[in-house]
Symmetry: C2
Subunit: 144 residues, 2 copies
Amino acid sequence: MFKGIDHIGIVVRDITSALPLFQEGMGLKLLGIEVIAEDNVKVASLAIGESRIELIEPIKEGTPVFRFLEKRGEGVHHIALRVEDAKEAIGRLKEAGLKPVEGRSQTGAMGMEVAFIHPRSCHGVLMEVCEELKPRGKREDGHL
Amino acid sequence: MFKGIDHIGIVVRDITSALPLFQEGMGLKLLGIEVIAEDNVKVASLAIGESRIELIEPIKEGTPVFRFLEKRGEGVHHIALRVEDAKEAIGRLKEAGLKPVEGRSQTGAMGMEVAFIHPRSCHGVLMEVCEELKPRGKREDGHL
């Protein structure tokens, strides 16, 4: 079911001041920075082998990632595992007793289809299941 | 410098009761369970693509992983990045301002050479740098 670790999400206070350590210090290639408006975060994606590191900065007070930062400080926020088919994977994980987080964004950074598993059902780990969208030509709205 | 994510270390209260979720529920293959005496932990390694998930159970009160579990509960404990040469990588990371954790085990699960970077220098992330040991016959000092 799982093809690998897609990325590790790390909450940081400020992406601009965190990036030099990851880019120059650690030599990771920046793939892009984007705002996920639905989750009120800004995300910088850095390549590491076949995986990524996501630096996540909350952009609005009182939102889940903002509260995570207030309560726990900077650090690992979630891990994301790559699957062929997100819907099928979530079905199987629910059968195994894992509980999806309802009402969360269905499209994450890098245009991936995503779903989240609640940490209370998964040993304290906020787990994202993500499915790489296949290239499918240019859409009418101009996005790939 | 970094070849990929080697593993994600997750602290659990009890490996035996956590394993069925990861093995049967998530379909991950168990590679082995071992005791790292120096760190006072038991570690179960599960394969996911070219990476691993490590479930880590403290086996002695008052030790760092035991205190992590007491303070923060179950959850992600560290992330481990794979390098060609651990010593060279640590040298470069020190130049970049990252601080190694002194006095930690130099051999981790799966017989890897490892070093840890202190979370205070790395945005709250305990980062392990690990080097896969190549098969190279017996060395003169008796180590493999």
